[in-house]
């Protein structure tokens, strides 16, 4: 994994993108929904069509403080844009349906499920991923607390848990462990490290 070069990923995506474009044309012509001419007219009727001539959507957003301009297939979720286009693989794909919380990131300071959001919907937004919270040697207090309290086992949900926990610090939430559990219920841990996760969060909240 560590030897994978960003260029490899881009090549793979170009191939997949071309394939999907061909499928897309066939799909639209097969009569599902509006005829192509009507679609074009409908798009023109909206004030700002975001698609380029090549059918890709342009979106500019700030990720972990860096301005990024992406051209993506309209179907690309924020999660896939982060992982596959920006190689920020700290954000995990779990269920891909907003049920597990592994994909949690911050958009404009608030936690969201990045799997249920299109990248194209985030024009001008500021996105923070786990990589933007802290790095080895300079960990965010919540990352440090998860280490100290062993707030994980396999680690797959941990990124989402930490992003959720950090956002929670700014949300209305009562002081009790039960309040933290309720506020964190959108993050599932298959290994069941819940009590250690709550302990880690409470340590940071009380600090």
């Amino acid at each position: 994994m560590s030897e994978k070069k960003p260029g490899d990923i881009v090549d793979i995506q170009l191939g997949r993108r071309n394939f999907l474009q061909i499928v897309g044309i066939t799909g639209a012509a097969s009569g599902l929904g509006l005829p192509i001419a009507a679609q074009a007219a409908a798009i023109a009727a909206v004030a700002h069509s975001a698609a380029d001539a090549d059918g890709l959507v342009s979106v500019q957003l700030k990720v972990n403080g860096n301005v990024q301009t992406l051209k993506v297939d309209s179907r690309t979720t924020l999660l896939d844009a982060l992982r596959d286009h920006l190689q920020l693989t700290g954000t995990k794909k779990g269920c891909d349906h907003g049920q597990c919380g592994a994909c949690t990131v911050h958009v404009n300071g608030r936690r969201v499920n990045s799997c249920l959001s299109l990248a194209a919907m985030h024009e001008g937004d500021e996105v923070t991923t786990l990589e933007g919270l802290g790095q080895p040697g300079n960990l965010h207090p919540m990352q440090q607390a998860f280490l100290e309290h062993d707030g994980y086992q396999c680690g797959y949900c941990t990124s989402g848990q930490i992003m959720s926990a950090v956002a929670l610090m700014k949300e209305p939430c009562g002081p009790a462990n039960a309040d933290v559990k309720e506020a964190m219920s959108g993050n599932i841990c298959r290994c069941g490290a819940y009590s250690n996760i709550v302990a880690a969060i409470q340590q940071v909240r009380k600090a």
Binding site: L20, V23, G24, G27, A28, L32, G33, L34, A38, Q39, A41, A42, I43, A45, V46, A47, H48, S49, A50, A51, V57, D73, S74, R75, T77, D96, H97, G98, G101, T104, R110, R111, V112, N113, C115, L116, S117, L118, A120, M121, E123, S164, A167, L168, E171, P172, K181, E182, A183, M184, S185, G186, N187
Partner: protein, 332 residues
């Protein structure tokens, strides 16, 4: 997910005229507005929703909560569920709405989901979500797999021989009990629909869930002024303590004067094919003393017409106890 054209709406009128080219605003719509995306993207990934055009309405100026001249509340369609739940006026005057919102979904989803989108939230019936299975709501005329299938979580009120899918929303139950009005802008201008008329019973057209027509854009929800002296409460019962849809829920608003109930509004969630207002329960409460006997009588009246399926008979008693407990809590 099927391919679609994506565009960003900067003007409501243009977005409405673009969406009006869709043959329907119900199941099978070719054009969809996206706001939070929490329902639409989920269903597009399942191929249950297959729009050929998606219009992002997040930049329209519909994210304000403001007082109306008569002391009610005007809520923009793009107000996020978390912001609405924590709004000081909602917490003070419409506690049932705040409680309902906070009992739904997760912190992340509530930061995304909008007021307008929650109104249009789709059922969690497993057959609706599975394109391999017959479903009259998804593909009219194919049959209802749930009636003889897994129906433990499905509806016991408002069902038909064609569909028993439950409306999953908590917010909609609170809005029903608060007698909200949905403001819709369409190609013919603006119209105001009482929430009791916004949702449709499945009947023999379960694919039609609301009065929304092609091009229609929900712009606001208006709450009437809070009833003087009334208290409200939302109680939700479910399989898990958090982050789960209701098996049964109750939204109640009660005012008591001189030992008699002078105002009662009752709606139930998790048991109906739409957010279920119960005029029968309200009538049983009106003018009566607020005690266990009154509440039990009202709960029995509310479930009088319940029609359980093979696996959800327990919901009849659960819904009665849920309603009784909610009424006891608010009258305490």
């Amino acid at each position: 997910m099927e391919p679609f054209a994506f565009s960003r709406a900067t003007d409501a009128a243009k977005a409405i005229s673009a969406a009006a080219r869709s043959s329907t605003a119900q199941q099978g719509a070719e054009v969809r507005f996206v706001a939070g995306g929490t329902t639409l993207l989920d269903l597009m990934k399942l191929n249950v929703e297959r729009p050929t055009q998606v219009i992002d309405i997040n930049h329209l100026p519909l994210a304000d909560v403001e007082r109306t001249p008569d002391g009610g509340l005007k809520i923009g369609a793009l107000v996020r569920n978390s912001d609405l739940a924590h709004h000081p006026l909602v917490q003070r005057d419409y506690a049932v709405l705040s409680q309902a919102l906070l009992s739904g979904a997760s912190g992340q989803l509530r930061n995304m989901a909008t007021t307008g989108g929650n109104l249009l939230q789709r059922t969690r019936c497993v057959y609706f979500r599975d394109t391999n299975m017959p479903c009259n709501k998804r593909e009219p005329g194919t049959g209802c797999s749930a009636i003889d299938g897994f129906n433990r979580t499905l509806a016991i009120l408002g069902t038909s021989e064609h569909c028993i899918a439950t409306n999953p929303s908590d917010m909609n139950v609170a809005l029903t009990t608060l007698e909200a009005t949905v403001v819709i802008r369409g190609t013919g201008g603006e119209r105001r629909v009482p929430i009791g008329e916004f949702f449709l019973l499945p009947g023999d057209t379960p694919q039609r869930e609301t009065v929304m027509m092609p091009g229609d854009l929900i712009t606001h929800v208006i709450l009437p002024p809070p009833h003087p002296g009334a208290r409200s409460h939302y109680l939700k019962l479910r399989d898990r303590a958090s982050y789960e849809f209701a098996l049964s829920s109750a939204a109640v608003v009660i005012a008591v004067q001189s030992g008699k109930i002078t105002h009662a509004r009752v709606a139930m969630g998790g048991v109906g094919t739409k957010p279920w207002r119960s005029p029968e329960a309200e009538q049983a409460l009106q003018g009566q003393p607020p005690n266990e006997h009154t509440f039990a009588t009202a709960a029995a009246a509310a479930l009088n017409n319940a029609k359980p399926q093979s696996e959800n008979g327990f919901k009849v008693e659960l819904a009665k106890r849920c309603l009784t407990h909610a009424l006891s809590t608010v009258a305490a």
